[in-house]
């Protein structure tokens, strides 16, 4: 189970386990004998059978290319096509399909109309959910009825205790939020900064929701990177 270092309103912190959720499949694909089937990745072509290589080998002459295709089938590698692809490594290739050993990365920023507005070094945000500095309560409470339609809470994580102490810690949080019928903005820095779940990952805003039922609690961290607002009008 992944962990997040989280602090309550008093600034007391603990490392807490959290669970993501994925949809379970209610349907299964089977063959005619009712045995389950699965998908496998196979090779359709290789770099040597790519258009770029065949084109270069034939001096970019369409007649020569056509002749080569008819005579030698260079676009079909009978040894490799249809082979299952196991583990692979990632490499960079240039336009001529040569391996590249040194690259320069540039991040291009486009506006909503697709116009280039900036070029910069790519940001590589470090994960911040389990650092020495805990994710804090910002103190900013949002009534559920006021906030549910302001942001799109794309993912949810359930926070759970792993000891009696963390049970008390989380139950208290859930109770406060339940009684306030509100979500609390949680974040890095002073409590309003974004959360980054893995190195190089995307930043997200996080809102904590708490519910209680007797001695049981439900603490949900709602993750958002989008405000719910209308699309810009086309000019």
């Amino acid at each position: 189970m992944r962990k997040i270092n989280i602090a309550n309103e008093k600034g007391r912190n603990a490392e807490i386990g959290f669970l993501p959720f994925t949809k379970t499949k209610d349907v299964v694909q089977v063959d005619k004998d009712n045995n389950p089937v699965s998908s496998k990745k196979v090779i359709k072509a290789t770099i040597n059978s790519s258009y770029a290589v065949i084109n270069a080998a034939n001096g970019s002459d369409p007649h020569k290319i056509a002749e080569a295709l008819i005579q030698g089938d260079p676009e079909v590698d009978l040894e490799l096509i249809g082979k299952f692809v196991g583990k692979t490594s990632r490499v960079f290739i240039d336009e001529h399909t040569n391996l590249v050993y040194s690259i320069k990365k540039t991040e291009k920023v486009y506006n909503t109309k697709g116009e280039l507005t900036d070029e910069r070094e790519p940001r590589n945000l470090p994960a911040n959910i389990i650092s020495d500095i805990p994710i804090k309560w910002s103190g900013k409470l949002f009534k559920k009825k006021d906030v549910f339609n302001k942001f799109v809470f794309i993912r949810k994580y359930q926070l759970q205790h792993d000891s009696g102490l963390t049970y008390d810690f989380l139950f208290e949080m859930a109770k406060k939020l339940h009684e306030a019928d509100s979500l609390m903005l949680m974040g890095s820095g002073k409590g309003t900064g974004p959360l980054v779940f893995q190195d190089g990952g995307k930043p997200f805003r996080a809102f904590m929701e708490g519910r209680i039922k007797g001695e049981e609690y439900l603490l949900i961290l709602h993750i958002s990177n989008l405000e719910l607002k209308p699309l810009p009008k086309n000019d």
Binding site: Q29, I103, Y110, T117, I133
Partner: protein, 198 residues
């Protein structure tokens, strides 16, 4: 343009076109470009584990195989439920005469992992005056014919109506007797809430 969706809620029927909402359309987007020392654009490719083949984008495909690794053609494949009963595809919401809306709650909506968001444009705007803008309405959604359906909610924000689709998580409350366990990495900081975050 796709067909309009036809909704039915209590005594009201109304139609609306939908348009997908995403970050790209709201905030813009970024793209990382890779160049070699000569300034030529480069792209990512895969190398097979034996190091013998380079597979640029588009050089792999998916096939369906049985437990023995033998190819199974599409026409032989059947779809069954978890008990092994054959099932049929459910219709697309665009093909339904009317999508029945039922009352839901903010909690149910909050319990949903979001897949897609669509903005509604009503064919007749007068329905806006009839719908309660603080209410959450729910229905089942299939953009295309499919074996499974998504959960969907119709909600309003500032006089604009949206359909949010996804799947409802069956959250369970936990008490002292239920426990769990293990960790990960580093830090960052910022002050204001900036949803552009680019």
């Amino acid at each position: 343009m796709a067909k309009a969706l036809n909704f039915k809620y209590q005594d009201h029927t109304f139609s609306a076109n939908i348009e997908k909402v995403d970050r790209k359309k709201i905030y813009g987007y970024t793209r990382v470009e890779y160049k070699n020392e000569k300034g030529e654009i480069c792209s990512l490719a895969n190398v097979t584990s034996d190091g013998m083949s380079i597979l640029p984008s588009g050089c792999t495909g998916l096939v369906t195989v049985n437990a023995d690794g033998k190819f199974v053609s599409r026409s032989e494949i059947q779809v069954v439920d978890t008990e092994g009963n054959p099932i049929e595809k459910l219709p697309s919401v665009f093909d339904l005469e009317a999508i029945e809306l039922s009352e839901s709650s903010i909690e149910e909506y909050l319990d949903t992992n979001v897949k897609s968001i669509y903005q509604l444009s009503f064919l007749d705007d007068s329905i806006k005056a009839t719908l309660d803008k603080s209410q959450v309405l729910s229905f089942k959604f299939n953009y295309r014919k499919d074996y499974q359906q998504d959960d969907a909610f119709l909600i309003c924000q500032d006089d604009h109506f949206f359909v949010v689709t996804g799947f409802k998580i069956p959250f369970e409350y936990v008490g002292l007797e239920k426990q769990f366990v293990e960790p990960v990495v580093v830090e960052e900081e910022e002050d204001d809430m900036d949803f552009g975050m680019m």
